[in-house]
């Protein structure tokens, strides 16, 4: 049973009622089909109403849903011939990031993504999808390899952030993230990044310097978690809901800010309701993006990526305001 979220309770309740009525009809002689029909119509209306008007905080809940499809789920549905490659060749293998080579519609590609666990045991092994430096260095190793063999790179972003730990600092968490941003800017192959869950801060960005950034409709991307923001700004982590609204972290917000290129529609109620269908939506967008980028030369790809990031940010000049030229 998929755990329900607070905001979709009315839908769930109504669905339960309809089920009860149906069972009742089947067991007894009373015919309730017309009532059921009416209720089903109401359910549809209610669903449309609720799911087309999801509040930022509710999106955070969907993005964090325990059953939300992960990188490996999408790899299974979207790619063939996947071979996972482990290790950074320096220190270790970080299970919080998966990476490997595969084929996308017959074309060789490199796939990299943050990987959360499905249960507590796996989550401990994968550190809840929060990478250490060796994870970023593994990702970079695979990107360099893709560059050498002229394969497009697809990154799935899904992390609360880089792991804030002692060992991570000792091994150079900052350097590892910075090096990825630096090197990704120079990759001569198409790079497409897709935020599939939570895009948390630098830990997300370290897989996120691409020609395109796409976001699933209910995913989030921000400089800090809503809880972290609330704690920093208002010294109260319980104001997370308010922070989620203020910080502009949803896909529509980011599209408006010019950070995100395309919003990938989600299955009604969230990606976890139908992984296969969700994967199809992603596949389509991916194919389109690759098609657009495949016409560019290496130089153009690097320039294209540079310009994408150059555009981001908003500034004005004091002398403009004063009317001074």
């Amino acid at each position: 049973m998929v755990a329900e979220l607070e905001f979709e309770k009315p839908v769930m309740e109504l669905r339960e009622k309809i089920k009860e009525l149906k069972e009742f009809t089947a067991q007894s002689d009373v015919d309730l089909s017309s009532e059921i029909e009416k209720l089903e119509a109401r359910l549809e209306k209610l669903e449309n109403e609720i799911y087309s008007n999801i509040k930022p905080w509710d999106r955070v809940q969907i993005a964090r849903h325990a059953n939300r499809p992960t990188t490996l789920d999408y790899i299974e549905h979207i790619f063939t011939n996947f071979i996972e490659c482990h290790g950074d060749r320096y220190y270790g293998d970080d299970d919080a990031i998966v990476s490997g080579i595969a084929k996308f519609r017959g074309v060789p590609v490199t796939v990299i993504g943050h990987q959360r666990g499905k249960d507590t045991k796996e989550n401990i092994r994968r550190n809840f999808g929060m990478p250490h430096p060796e994870g970023y260095r593994k990702a970079l190793r695979l990107m360099k390899q893709a560059d050498k063999f002229n394969r497009p790179i697809i990154c799935f972003i899904d992390t609360k952030g880089a792991y804030p730990g002692k060992a991570a600092e000792e091994r150079g968490q900052s350097e590892a993230i910075a090096k990825n941003l630096f090197e990704m800017a120079g990759l001569s192959v198409p790079v497409i990044c897709i935020v599939i869950g939570e895009g948390g801060s630098g830990g997300a960005l370290a897989l996120g310097v691409g020609n395109y950034i796409h976001m699933l409709e209910n995913s989030t991307y921000s400089v800090i978690s809503p809880e972290g923001a609330a704690a920093l700004l208002w010294k109260d982590a319980s104001l997370a809901k308010k922070a989620a609204e203020t910080m502009k972290i949803t896909a529509p917000d980011l599209k408006e800010l010019g950070v995100v290129d395309e919003i990938i529609p989600e299955v009604k109620g969230g990606a976890h309701k139908d992984v296969g269908l969700q994967a199809k939506h992603i596949e389509e967008v991916l194919a389109n993006s690759l098609k657009l980028l495949s016409t560019m030369s290496s130089k153009e790809l690097i320039q294209h990526r540079y310009e994408k990031y150059k555009r981001i940010g908003q500034v004005s000049f004091a002398n403009d305001l004063l009317g001074v030229k």
Partner: protein
């Protein structure tokens, strides 16, 4: 305890070291009809074991394979063409007894040196290959091993083929001194030029891959794989233990240990090797050009 006991030396504790495969402890399959698995001690028919790619049916222990067996287990039938078959070692340092030892191993293995190089097809994909053979001088690398591997890389470069290198080596060959050491630089230089030309390098480390071989071409693959349980490392366990005066963990320098420590892309069972290599060669066809 009696008083006099205080003045007697306690018996020295016998230290246990992991055995480095020596001449006697060779895990070669003998010419007998049956063989005992050194891991699980089960006795089985040699032929049955060979048919199972020399992987123990009982405990999955990977017995050592020689170069011929490796090639016939991977390459499509009759596709393999050998390079430089006739190349043999000299005795550059006039090292006493070296020539006799070489001759003995040539008789024993029916091979001229510790590596077989050539090209062939795996699942239809053409590739160059170098397969080291631990049954010849422990697979140690002297001038011939270095030269043959370098030539195989050069041929791959000229023909635009990938190269797959199977390593099995105790390290540099002592009898050729510094010339052996320099083979590390020679092979690595060849790989650098090949790689810069976009060449695909796959390294498969088998038991044992140590010393100068692990510190050169074995570690330079675009993909570094190993067989389960293979001993892989630079310095020997005994030397490390004596240097740091600490006992090392049981799994130290095994393939699984290396995977955990970020040195390998994957540990692959011998039964899956042909499929995985075929898959990688497939993905690297046509240089990954996008055609829509």
């Amino acid at each position: 305890m009696q008083l006099k006991d205080l003045f007697t030396k306690p018996k020295p504790k016998k230290k246990k070291y992991a055995s480095i495969p020596s001449e006697q402890a060779k895990q070669d399959v003998p010419e007998g009809i049956v063989i005992k698995c050194p891991n699980c001690k089960k006795i089985m028919y040699t032929k049955e074991l060979t048919k199972n790619l020399k992987v123990c049916m009982n405990c999955s222990y990977h017995h050592q394979m020689n170069a011929r067996e490796r090639i016939s287990s991977l390459f499509d039938e009759n596709s393999f063409i050998e390079y430089d078959k006739e190349m043999i070692s000299e005795n550059p340092l006039n090292f006493p007894g070296y020539e006799e030892k070489l001759e003995k191993d040539r008789q024993k293995t029916k091979q001229n040196e510790a590596v077989v190089t050539g090209e062939g097809t795996i699942n239809g994909y053409r590739t160059s290959v170098a397969v080291m053979d631990a049954s010849f001088r422990m697979g140690s690398m002297g001038s011939v091993v270095g030269e043959k591997i370098t030539r195989a890389i050069e041929t791959a470069n000229e023909k635009g083929l990938p190269i797959i290198i199977f390593t099995a080596s105790g390290g540099a060959r002592m009898q050729e001194g510094v010339l052996s050491l320099m083979q590390m630089a020679k092979t690595s230089s060849a790989l650098k030029l090949f790689s810069d030309n976009g060449g695909l390098i796959i390294s498969v480390m088998t038991h044992p891959t140590t010393g100068g071989v692990s510190a050169s071409f074995a570690s330079l693959g675009d993909y570094n794989f190993a067989e389960p349980g293979a001993l892989i490392g630079f310095a020997g366990r005994r030397i490390i233990e004596q240097t740091i005066r600490e006992e090392l963990p049981e799994d130290f320098q095994t393939a699984e240990f290396l995977l955990k420590h970020g040195q390998l892309d994957a540990v692959i069972n011998r039964q899956d090797l042909k499929e995985t290599l075929g898959n990688i060669l497939d993905i690297h066809q046509a240089g990954g050009e996008i055609t829509w």
